[in-house]
Amino acid sequence: MQVPSHVEYQRATSVEHALSLLAGPEARVIAGGHSLLPMMKLRLAQPELLVDINGLAELSFIRLDGDELRIGALARHADLLGSAVAAEYFPILTDAERVIADPVVRNWGTIGGSLCQADPSEDLSAALAALRATAVIRGAGGARTVPVREFHTGPYETVIGPGELLAEIRVPVLPHSGSAYRKVKRRAGDWPVAAAGAVLQLGAGNVIETAGIGLTAVGAAHFTAAEAERYLAGRPADEESFAAAGEIAGRECHPAADQRGPEDYKRHLAAELTVRALRQAAARARGEG
């Protein structure tokens, strides 16, 4: 088995302590380690210092706070999958977690870790983009918020700077809404060939008030199908609208051919999965499950 190169290790005793350790060059956070350690074993990542934040209980929570679901960066994937409040308000998150990695990896991998890894095929990035969630980043100077849609600046790159730490994700509760996530993978536990998440807020007469569509693994800018979202606003939540939105989503993304599939197939999936996610989001919004 491949092994990492030399690295120093410090265990953070508080968020402040973590931030001061992270201010140094080549310091990286290690939480679950299931994004970073594989990179380190392949020697694609060679940080000088690992800052272990697993002991920071203050970052480990999932709770409804007023009209927001707040997810601490240290929440494990298994915690989010098992969260009753998440399932009730944001089934898109439960749908997504069910197909992220595998049950054992989910025990230790964290929400924050996945988001900060910023893999272009990462599922939560798309789900949280669809939810128009916000990232709360803490630094020496305090906290700042960044919409998840602006959190990623490129493959494996985020807005988090030296001396900063992702602290939590906040997801706004939308009344009269439903959400869903759909993913195609070659095998259980595999990264997506493509995946789509949809969030629909319905008004009177089955009209779509707001739509959120997240896409992953297909090169969609900011993990979002923005044009498809704009198309849906004000339209009826019916098959015709969904089909049209899917088609737009399939056209506005930029999938690259690889061993998971050729470009035409991935575009097709972006469209098809958008339609399916919309369909189920609408059904859930109407209370049809």
Binding site: M1, V3, Y9, R11, P38, L50, P103, V104, N107, A188
Partner: protein, 157 residues
């Protein structure tokens, strides 16, 4: 750096490099070779052990991260010389052939039964879906876990 890890209820203090992976700590430092490794990318699950009571892939955890924590490995499944029902089940139902994936499978199975004492076949398959077996085609692994569910000789948690 110096770390202290409780493994199978015994405390071990050792000098290790920060980069030492937990699986290597268990196997090479402590001589507990019952847990195995089989890949480089956290896919195969041959290395599954319990860390603070939860199954984890120990190839993707640093020994340093286990400092002050508790680990349980396959060597810690039997208590006072009595086999765990999961271990007995794997023998009863031919749940192993080469035995390489078996320790990891049993650790996950034991955790599953501790939290879901009467799992359906689909739940067992889901629980082990992150772990590969090349010999058994999974059928008898599932039957072994069902056997353990139906013959809970004692509570081991």
């Amino acid at each position: 750096m110096r770390i202290t890890v409780t493994v199978n209820d015994a405390e071990y203090t050792r000098e290790v490099e920060p980069r030492l992976l937990l699986i290597h700590f268990l196997r090479d430092e402590l001589g507990l070779t019952g847990s195995h490794w089989g890949c480089d990318t956290s896919n195969c699950g041959a290395c599954v052990v319990w860390l603070d009571g939860k199954p984890v892939k120990s190839c993707t955890v640093l020994a340093a991260m286990a400092d002050g924590r508790a680990v349980r490995t396959v060597e810690g499944l039997e208590r006072d010389g009595r086999l765990d029902p999961v271990q007995q089940g794997f023998m009863e139902c031919h749940g192993l052939q080469c035995g390489f994936c078996t320790p990891g499978m049993m650790m996950t199975a034991r955790w599953l039964l501790d939290h879901n004492p009467d799992p359906a076949e689909a739940e067992i398959r889901e629980a082990i879906s992150g772990q590969v077996c090349r010999c058994t085609g999974y059928e008898n692994i599932v039957r072994s876990v069902r056997w353990a569910a139906e013959h809970p000789a004692e509570v081991t948690a």
